[in-house]
């Protein structure tokens, strides 16, 4: 397959012209077209306006491509609007902030350190399958508070549990995940522990305990929302540092810049391209009429290159001081997994800086998404990288 950008770490902005001239793009999807909003201001305004632009519609419909025909389970709190959303989200908030705790950070640093040690030992690895998928899976055991060994099962599913290559959801692969979650819920019912399944099964909302279906809806989202996004963020960050060795050097000298670097890499790569909403009534966005019950999408990836807010939007400025990106969404649905994802990426950057001198990219194959007139590079199907050890440090 052809790679269309000049360098592995270049992620072109396919939306620029449409964003500046019209402000939107149109995508056909299973007879349920989507109006993609491309400007930062429109994306934010629409994300805030849940009365007019709804998430709590038929399950699967706010996802593009639509998953309506292949799932019934409502993902929680993602496919809800206030006031239900507020109640369910509040239930989850403190659990998903556990990555702020020192013991969580120490455990994660241990995992990352072992993985980096092993890739340095191997020398050359295929980063998506041998590092990014492994790191994403192992880190998720901390977020769910389950044994590390569970990661082996998830790694065995491969990189596309939920989606095969940007096409409509692969229902056979999806059922692997559904069946697995069902089994885990059974286990937690029989023998409650301190894992997320057990905690959810004991939680209350709407004046009753959560139903099995609801617990399942939270868990599916946790697995699906945090998989490709994290894998792409890890892989793309490695490609960037391989092609910008002075930036790796800088992270070594000034590890305190890692936090800003993570925000900038998220802005530039925008691992989640866009997410839909459904108009509640006939309305208008960006001077364009939107019919009731039709779909719009909030294009985080385009908004993050909006030159009216970001200076040099197509450049990675690793220490960008003002960086109001929407890579993790905006408003009440903003990413619940962001604390975890940020920690994973920050730990990765600092560990690479302390153990790796340089990285060399060998061959790679880009992963491009096609959205109507827009072709967007989102990551890699595979990328071979050689990791050269830092001498003074084992």
């Amino acid at each position: 397959m052809d790679n269309y950008s000049d360098k592995a770490s270049t992620f072109p902005d396919p939306f620029g012209l449409a964003r500046e001239t019209r402000g939107f793009g149109e995508v056909e999807d299973q007879n349920d077209p989507v109006l993609m909003l491309l400007r930062l201001k429109d994306v934010r305004k629409t994300a805030r306006d849940w009365q007019s632009f709804r998430s709590g519609v038929t399950p699967g419909r706010i996802v593009v491509p639509s998953e309506v025909s292949i799932r019934q389970t409502r993902q929680i709190p993602f496919e809800m609007d206030p006031p239900e959303h507020t109640e369910y989200r509040a239930l989850l908030e403190s659990w998903f902030r556990r990555p702020q705790q020192p013991d969580y950070q120490i455990a994660l640093a241990g995992l990352v350190s072992e993985l980096i040690k092993s890739v340095v030992q191997k020398g050359t690895v295929e980063v998506v399958s041998e590092l990014a998928l492994r790191l994403q899976s192992q880190a998720l055991t901390l977020l769910l508070n389950v044994p590390l060994a569970e990661a082996e099962t998830w790694i065995g599913w491969g990189t596309h549990v939920f989606r095969s290559e940007g096409e409509a959801l692969d229902s056979q692969k999806a059922s692997i995940l559904y069946d697995y979650i069902d089994q885990q819920i059974d286990k937690a019912l029989q023998q409650p522990g301190e894992d997320l399944y057990s905690v959810l099964l004991a939680s209350r909302a709407q004046g009753r305990t959560l139903t099995r279906e609801e617990v399942s809806g939270v868990m599916i989202l946790t697995f699906a929302g945090g998989r490709d996004t994290v894998i792409n963020a890890i892989t793309n960050s490695i490609a960037y540092l391989a092609e910008h060795p002075h930036q790796l050097e800088r992270l070594r000298r000034e590890p305190e810049t890692a936090g800003k670097a993570v925000e900038e890499l998220i802005r530039y790569f925008s691992p989640l391209t866009h997410m839909g909403r459904v108009a509640a009534t006939d309305t208008e966005v960006c001077s364009h009429a939107v019919r009731a019950d039709s779909r719009v999408s909030l294009c985080w990836a385009s908004a993050n290159r909006d030159a009216s807010t970001f200076e040099n939007p197509n450049e990675v400025v690793l220490d960008r001081a003002l960086n109001p990106h929407v890579g993790f969404g905006f408003g009440h649905h903003n990413c619940l997994g962001a604390t975890h994802a940020r920690l994973v990426l920050k730990t990765l950057l600092t560990t690479l800086a302390s153990r790796v001198s340089t990285m060399e990219i060998h061959e790679y194959e880009e992963n491009n998404e096609d959205w109507g007139e827009f072709r967007r590079k989102v990551g890699f199907h595979r990328i071979q990288v050689k990791f050269n050890p830092l001498q003074q440090n084992n």
Binding site: K41, R44, K45, R48, D49, R97, Q100, G259, K260, V262, E263, T309, R320, A321, L322, N323, P324, H325, V326, F328, N334, A338, T339, R342
Partner: protein, 102 residues
């Protein structure tokens, strides 16, 4: 040194002192509930939103353009809203009182 008081949504009062850094960093360091500083201070998360006591607003100053855009349409924005990560602590802020926004 500037003496700064945070009042949380639960009406807990935390008074502390600082010479430098931002209001967000101070709040996070002191474990002030509701000041999370998720994005580390790059103006992307609004988890550092505070309401400045009106009598201090002139000293603290108004938000910048990018900060205003972040706050715009926020359900809890008022004319006294600031993002804590965009407010540098100086001696002039001595006595400042801040309410953590919802």
């Amino acid at each position: 040194m500037a003496k700064i008081t945070f009042i949380t949504r639960e009406n807990e009062t935390i008074t502390t002192e600082a010479a430098a850094g931002t209001i967000m960093e101070l709040g996070v360091r002191q474990g002030v509930r509701g000041i999370d500083g998720d994005c580390g201070g790059v103006c992307s998360c609004a988890t550092c939103h505070v309401h400045v006591a009106p009598e201090y607003m002139a000293i603290v100053g108004p938000p910048g353009d990018i900060e205003s855009d972040m706050l715009e349409l926020n359900d809890n924005v008022t004319e006294y809203s600031r993002l804590g990560c965009q407010v540098q602590i100086t001696e002039d802020l001595d006595g400042l009182v801040l309410h953590v926004a919802r």
